[in-house]
Amino acid sequence: MQNDVEAHVRDKVDAIYRSDSRRVLATLIRLLGDFDLAEEALHDAFAAAVERWPEDGVPRNPRTWLVSTGRFKAIDRLRRSSRFDSADGAALERFVQDEDPETDDGVEDDRLRLIFTCCHPALSADAQIALTLREVCGLTTEEVARAFLTPAPTLAQRIVRAKSKIRDAGIPYEIPSLSDLPDRLDSVLHVIYLVFNEGYLASAGPELTRESLSAEAIRLGRLLVELLPEPEAIGLLALMLLHEARRVGRTSSLGDVILLEDQDRSLWNREEIHEGVTLVERALTSRRIGPYSLQAAIAAVHAEAPDTASTDWAQIVALYDLLLKAEPSAVIELNRAAAIAMRDGPAAGLKLIDKILAMGDLEDYYPAHAARGELCRRLGRVGDAMAAYKRTLELVTQEPERRFLERRLMELDSRR
């Protein structure tokens, strides 16, 4: 009987850990002003719950109980450690006084504070990503290290440095003021998108996708939209969902790349496409249309088309024009050129791609050479196509992409 109660409580604690530990941590960081102390306090609080709840019963508001227990445990730790001598008594008092009547708004603000602090632009992009996955998503250091193919000690070091910069440089635990919000939000969106892409287009190694990272990024995107429904946050979530929806069609069962035009569109996830399209529409009605929303709109056109031939390429070109205005970049020019090739034929696209390559910025960017190879192939310029694919092969590190290119080269060789 006693064992049953304990097992039941432990399940309950596990469930609360999964659903609420990040919220509790976010509030503890605010109350204690220190990441490490807050993490210790979080663990102490859950350990106390496992110990006390079987006897005392599960409190009516477990989260409040955990925050307040965590805080007291932290104060205990500080009293016991030499970190606080009598001179720091005032600081200790401040923690004690800091308990606030908790509202749900306050808790959600704490989560947003945590996101903005982890993604502060004064931290390096690597550190922002590591810290966000560790603190906001609750991944272990080992999990983050594995996902980024980084040795765990390197990653641990990165997190330690980031935390000490937050402390020593005085990076505040706050939601940015309205005037800073656009810039600071950009930085958060960038981190989420980098995490997504790392999962979606793993930059090296045998597997083309590392799904858990993409799923984590989508979860983060949802959280951000829930906490701060800014148009570009909505646009980014839509973009990730629309990419994710088409993940299964991108590779064969052997892990080989399948081009958009050859993909079996019945494999695409209709539910995610529907959600993505609805979000795009919501982002576009805001009239503050940014690069993520435009990219999502492009992805939506693809996702809703039954095949490449009946895709609305004119609309895609128009969206790329807007995107170029919002965010001029050679990579976007390249994508626009590929869309033009679909709208006006391969010769028109090739002309643009050659112009872009001549500018030099994309000389080492393999998709530029791959696109050139593809258009030359369609035009029957076998020699040029082979040269472009060979150049692509020199630049590509992913195994499935290499296999695809080698296959293409063999086909072309047989046509000579």
Partner: protein, 118 residues
Amino acid sequence: MKYLCLIYDNESEWLKFPKEVQDKYMGEYTAFGDSIKKSGQYVGANQLQPSHTATVVRARNGKVSTTDGPFVETKEQLGGYYLIDAKDLNDAIQVASRIPSARFGAIEVRPVVERTSA
């Protein structure tokens, strides 16, 4: 917290500016200095002589070596600093972004180590 805002400017570009542009720029500096004095964030500030006046001193094994110039050739040189009092880094970034040179050069914001007096 105290932050040191180090001002990096391109000296040779600065010398190429016509006199009235230089005057306007210095006027902006005066206005900026007044504004942070008024807000109570000003602790100290100085403009430095150009980097060719710099001397680098090292003491190794009791031997002092003196060389000229800054450590590395860069496009931008340390031209001056403000020492400010700010609530936190975001506050300091706010102030640093208003330093006139932020528009042409760069401002490095460094927190100052605060030692509690024993």
